[in-house]
Symmetry: C2
Subunit: 453 residues, 2 copies
């Protein structure tokens, strides 16, 4: 019986997944600009032995619904949204084991400073940083970056492949393992013969430089990815160590996890080289009846319409244009491809029901035993490794889970009772570094001439 892995799923903003819940009494989501809010959260999660805090991010705004940002602003649908990377060192300073998976869109970044940013965080966290690789899907982001349109979907993945290769070269190849000497007596901090110039001439990127950071505990950050299109799964099979997948049933989930693990095998890796996480919301109380009552209170605060406004951007279709009972055909290629295909033909009424709690994420409601049963069924029948737990009420949802569900899972032997020491990758995979079969490893040995070349 595999232990179940657990991330808290959050974002540096007010409304993340369960839209409208910022209005619920006691919800702290609007405190996101206070450092104490994040320090409290990090401490709470570490006390609950969470593997990580997974931080989503978005560049751009949700302006598809009614063609404006009215509801986005009113319900704080991921707007305002602040830079998640700026939060990490503060939370790292009050924790010792909690991992941090941070979303960063590579489409508008240059590898040279980007690699340094993550190396810096890997150093400061003692090897607890992960990067959720995304390429973005919002036209509003492209316009804000000075482009007239986004790059076409599959081309974004081609660019991402190359972006990762350049970063692998910097992270894994520029400094040899023992390049750092830190020897005052010999007056040698680093050995110049073991620091290598990275020369890259590719289709999307060109560079010639030394990585600015010395080798960090994990070198390459733990790699998260969430693509579920055909090209996205191929990409995940090649690069991802953790993926984030949603499915409507455990059976549907198993189909997806099979594809993902096969994609890893196709890329010369092993099925278990990818840990698969599913997003879920949990409403738990000491009794099933109390849990249902809690859910009813939550439903009253949530905004299904705000959920639909968010969803409109995900599929790049203004859902306000459709009658309540009119089936909605979703053109492939707009927004997030796999989402469009799942919901094609649904009516707006069905989608509103689906978004009753402000999102389309699956919700588990029950007493601790019922919740544990459901999670274990998802894990075992869906062949997933863990969950990204949404914040329905923030931070109450996490506190409830820690108080009620964690002990239940521990009793059943399905949740750790202490952290494994070491880096985030070591905790999940038993090694600080990516295995030799991962594509990053090929850049590990000096492959360029040294300086001056």
């Amino acid at each position: 019986m595999k232990p179940i892995l657990l991330n808290a799923f959050s974002m540096n903003c007010v409304g993340h997944i369960h839209h409208g819940m910022w209005t619920y009494p006691g919800d702290r989501s609007a405190d996101f600009n206070q450092l104490d809010y994040w320090l409290d959260l990090a401490r709470t999660l570490e006390a609950g032995l969470f593997d990580g805090l997974f931080l989503a991010d978005i560049l751009g705004v949700y302006d598809v619904y009614r063609g404006n940002i009215d509801l986005t602003a009113r319900e704080a649908i991921q707007l305002p949204v602040n830079d998640p990377l700026m939060l990490i060192s503060a939370m790292a300073s009050v924790t010792r084991n909690l991992g941090f998976g941070v979303t960063a869109n590579l489409s508008y970044e240059a590898p040279y400073p980007f690699a340094r940013r993550f190396s810096t965080l890997d150093h400061l966290t003692g090897g607890r940083i992960g990067w959720n690789v995304v390429t973005g899907y919002l036209d509003s982001a492209a316009r804000a970056m000075g482009h007239t349109a986004q790059q076409q979907h599959d081309r974004r993945y081609d660019q991402a492949d190359e972006f990762l290769d350049v970063n692998y070269k910097l992270w894994e190849g520029s400094w040899e393992e023992d390049a750092l000497d830190n020897n005052p007596a010999r007056r040698r901090y680093a050995d110049p013969d073991k620091i290598h110039l990275i020369n890259h001439r590719g289709e999307f990127y060109q560079m010639s430089g030394y990585h600015l950071s010395a080798p960090s505990p994990q070198r390459t950050p733990l790699l998260f990815q969430a693509g579920t299109s055909r090209r996205g799964i191929q990409f995940a099979g090649r690069h991802a160590e953790c993926t984030f997948v949603n499915g409507s049933t455990p059976e549907a989930m198993r189909d997806k996890t099979r594809l993902l693990r096969q994609a890893a095998v196709d890329a010369g890796r092993k099925p278990g080289d990818i840990k698969i996480f599913m997003g879920v919301g949990v409403i738990v109380a000491p009794t099933a009846r109390q849990a249902r009552e809690k859910r009813d209170h939550y439903l009253a605060a949530a905004s299904p319409e705000a959920g639909l406004a968010h969803f409109s951007s995900s599929i790049n279709i203004d859902l306000a244009r459709f009658g309540l009972d009119q089936p909605i055909s979703m053109a492939p290629g707009g927004g997030i491809e796999s989402v469009s295909s799942t919901y094609s033909g649904w009516t707006r009424r069905q989608l509103l029901d689906q978004h009753a709690l402000g999102s389309r994420y699956p919700i588990i409601t029950g007493d601790p035993a019922q919740v544990a049963d459901a999670l274990i069924r998802w894990a075992d029948e869906g062949d997933i490794d863990g969950f990204n737990l949404t914040r329905i009420v923030n931070p109450q949802s996490y506190q409830d889970f820690i108080q009620l569900v964690v002990p239940e899972l521990q009793q059943r032997g399905r949740y750790k009772t202490a952290y494994t020491p070491g880096t985030l990758r070591h905790k999940l995979f038993g090694s600080d570094r990516l295995p030799e079969r991962h594509p990053a490893a090929r850049w590990r040995h000096p492959y360029t001439t040294t300086q001056g070349a």
Copy 2:
């Protein structure tokens, strides 16, 4: 008598200014990847009522001296160098008043995510963030960013002018002052009518987007700048709130400060709208003799040659090519212009003497009264507002200063005895926001049509 302002001058690396001093017993510079090192530093500086911690940064490596990075690696001359922005939230979480001035090179950044990064830090620090505006001067950075060469010196400032304008629009103009409502009862977190689309079509930048962050305590971060070329001074006169200037004597300094304050007036601002800081190293002990002994110990650990390797990149001339007593002519336009003009005609021997403590920064050595005398003379005769205090031995230099010099300056009424509450800008200028006469203010009132335009 104006109180003297004080920043600690540091960097997210081992060797910053006084090269070679990482070898001095007890120096903690090589701990820069440990969060505790930075938390300790922040607490120390706040206990000493420092106005700020000023963090330098560099993209690129010093590869001009002997045409390689041999000495750069051995003496850790700003290599490795990690991202300073990643340090801020941790230090902010253990302080309440210390400001943070962080260097960030704009040449390779896009305004949209850049503006968000600083807004995020302004929120998280409660308005204690400053940005030191630099455009870079290293060819190695240009190559690492995929360019064959840097942009020409004055063109970099043209680009910087426009970069700042776009950022001002985002910081000052996109969200009206009262756009945030945070009213659960009305279900209105923000008022969409008060969030404005920024449309910019310029020579260097194009964008169309809403700023992603709500108004932060200072909106525009406190603006530092250090340019001292003719074009740099013009730029500072227009934008800078704090500048960083070096001069060999108080008289020479006064000439520079006069130019700077005149440049502010020429740009429609007031002479006092710019606070001028000078970089200085202080070696202090209870008696003058002890201070001299301390200096002798320091001199034995320092590396004048490493100082010259750093300096070679500053002037873009390989000083290893010159005989010890051969006058060195420095071509204008290479490296940092004002530096080149100051040292033209010097010999390598003179430069090595100048870099006895690993750098060309002025050093004040003495007992507390002597140091206070010297600082006050620089301040009053040079018409400067404060000092960026280097770390000769780290953090001993700061501790010595706090223990011995701060009380002396306080006794003379030249140093604060408590912090003024409020944001960093409020502490220095009495206002959270830039004054109406600053160019940022012109974007403060909605100037574009609202969303959908």
